[in-house]
């Protein structure tokens, strides 16, 4: 496959994790501007594990996922009683706190004659496990695609088991949901953990693809993009945020002629989509229609 295509597809896959992470919270009724924090935590934690502690790739990425989920739950727990703008800004504050802390985080070690590890604002170089194992960008893309497919399958299962429906109930009307026996607080913390884990997984995969990460990559802009993907693509299905990523990275990055005007085109497109469909292209009404049509 064309290396450019592989790199675009890999980026789409990796940003899909972040977009899904923000989407899960949107479904649960909260906007988070801070999912990039868990992306960063996953990236740094798994990078440290594979590069410094010489753990196998899969275990390192799993560790990043678990840590992302754990921190996600820890943040969601006090934040769960906040709503609306307060939740959004609290998550943003946490993410910027994480980024600022990574700017002073140094943890370097001599591994086989190389000094490696996070070096504050200078970033974290040589997360080379994947390359040293001889995994080419092509197979690496397969790993990313399979992980993403696994996540989507899990969300599909959650939908069959009424898990997603309960999250939607919490998101739409927490008072009514509580009156119907939904333990709202637990769902909010659970959603925070799931979203943190998803972003952590994406971050772990990202760190090993890029081999170099630095705190500035995990800025507010990244987080706000993640929220926007779900809102453009649609909140009705897990395919919505992925469609959002496809529109941004896929469509616009492939049209290299537009490179200089990319943000102007993307911004205008998003503004028009949101005027026509405030809950995104694949919104709840459309998904309900399709589902009833399929059942017929």
């Amino acid at each position: 496959m064309d290396p450019f295509l592989i790199s675009v597809l890999s980026n789409i896959g990796l940003f899909s994790f972040l977009a899904l992470s923000a989407w899960i919270l949107l479904i649960g009724g909260e906007i988070s501007f801070g999912q990039q924090a868990y992306f960063a935590i996953g990236a740094y934690a798994s990078g440290i594990a594979s590069a410094l502690w010489v753990w196998p790739f899969a275990v390192a990425v799993l560790w990043g996922t678990v840590l992302g989920a754990g921190v996600g739950a820890l943040v969601a727990w006090p934040a769960a009683r906040l709503s609306g703008v307060h939740y959004a800004i609290a998550t943003l504050a946490f993410a910027e706190l994480t980024r600022a802390s990574l700017n002073v985080f140094r943890y370097q070690r001599d591994v086989e004659g190389y000094l490696t590890g996070p070096d504050g604002a200078n970033g974290f170089r040589d997360i080379r496990w994947v390359y040293e194992a001889g995994i080419e960008p092509g197979p690496n893309l397969t790993i990313i695609a399979l992980s993403l497919a696994g996540v989507i399958a899990l969300i599909g299962l959650a939908a069959r088991l009424n898990v997603m429906a309960q999250l939607r109930m919490v998101g739409e009307d927490p008072i009514l949901a509580a009156m119907q026996g939904v333990r709202v607080l637990r769902w909010k913390i659970g959603a925070g953990a799931a979203a943190g884990g998803l972003a952590g997984l994406g971050g772990g995969l990202y760190a090993h693809l890029a081999t170099y990460i630095e705190p500035a990559q995990f800025s507010v802009m990244t987080g706000v993009h993640a929220v926007a993907y779900g809102l453009i693509g649609g909140l009705g299905t897990a395919l919505g945020p992925i469609l959002g990523v496809l529109i941004d990275i896929g469509l616009l990055e492939s049209l290299r002629a537009l490179a200089a005007y990319r943000m102007i085109v993307f911004g205008g497109l998003v503004a028009i989509i949101l005027i026509l469909r405030p809950r995104g292209i694949l919104d709840e009404t459309l998904v309900a229609k399709v589902r009833s049509w399929v059942r017929r």
């Binding site: 906040l82 703008v85 307060h86 700017n103 706000v224 503004a271 005027i275």
Partner: protein, 295 residues
């Protein structure tokens, strides 16, 4: 002890501009119940236009100021029409995402028009510095105080002693009640947006003129400072926005002095996070309203 006092003074000087930014956010949020995160970038469009007019015709501060006002107004009206007026109903999320999309547009537009890293902005007229009891207050800071104070007084008069202010407060209290009492909600919302733009333009101009230069990062910077100050002070309260802005300035100045630049960010965001968790009503003690819960 002297350091502490000097830092506080410096902090208040920076905080005066933050307070104006926070007030702009609060005005918009108050009447719309929606967050306009493109507020900072709209201001940026204005200051860049001001810088351009200055560079083109060496228009000086007055010319740059007029161009800044015009630029912020145009950008704000663009954002208001597309992200707020065009998206009706219970769609606070969509408005916010849409304002983010326009932010991207404004930012790239500015980056294309001004390829340099920094652009010069006319500086404030030189005033004598003030020294008393070992403390130092720059002439620039005095001017910032004076302008910010004047804006606050004017705003206070407008909001509490004019018919438009009454309509605005009615809309902020309850959109339904305001509509029933024949307030033209769309008109008031639009005018409030413009008012916020003017306040933002003053803030942007003061900041740009104090620094003497502007960068394309100004939009993000202004949105973040305004949002943080608004949330620390208490969402939806003008008094809170003022307090929050000053508090943010003081905290930054103290942290910078005692802990250094890297730690300053950690302290500010850590404080904001704890503030939101422990004191969601902010310094002004705003009680959460039903309308806000909807977002």
């Amino acid at each position: 002890m002297l350091d502490l006092a000097q830092n506080t003074l410096d902090g208040i000087a920076a905080g005066a501009a933050y307070a104006l930014l926070a007030i702009g956010f609060t005005l918009i949020f108050g009447v719309m119940r929606r967050l306009n995160i493109a507020f900072g970038p709209s201001i940026m469009v204005g200051v860049f236009l001001g810088a351009w007019v200055h560079a083109q015709w060496s228009a000086g501060l007055i010319g740059a100021a007029a161009a800044t006002f015009a630029g912020v107004l145009i950008a704000s009206v663009y954002v208001e029409r597309l992200s707020f007026a065009a998206i009706r109903g219970d769609a606070a999320l969509a408005s916010m995402a849409s304002s983010f999309a326009l932010w991207m547009q404004l930012e790239q537009g500015v980056a294309l028009a001004f390829p340099g890293r920094t652009t010069a902005f006319p500086t404030l007229p030189q005033l004598p510095d003030v020294r008393f009891a070992g403390l130092f207050l720059g002439g620039d800071d005095l001017l910032v105080f004076a302008v910010a104070g004047a804006v606050l007084l004017l705003l206070h008069r407008l909001i509490y002693h004019s018919h438009f202010g009454l309509e605005m407060r009615a809309l902020a209290d309850s959109p339904e009640a305001a509509a029933v009492s024949q307030v033209n909600t769309r008109r008031v919302a639009f005018l409030t947006f413009c008012l916020a733009a003017l306040v933002g333009a003053v803030a942007g101009m003061l900041i740009a003129a104090t620094d003497g230069q502007i960068t394309p990062k100004f939009g993000l910077w202004a949105t973040m400072k305004g949002l943080i100050a608004m949330m620390i002070g208490g969402l939806g309260s003008l008094r809170g926005a003022l307090l929050g802005g000053l508090a943010l300035g003081i905290i930054e100045a103290q942290a910078q002095w005692y802990l250094g630049a890297a730690a300053r960010e950690i302290v500010v965001y850590g404080f904001l996070f704890l503030c939101l968790i422990a004191l969601p009503g902010g310094m002004a003690g705003v009680r959460e309203t039903g309308a806000e819960r909807k977002l």
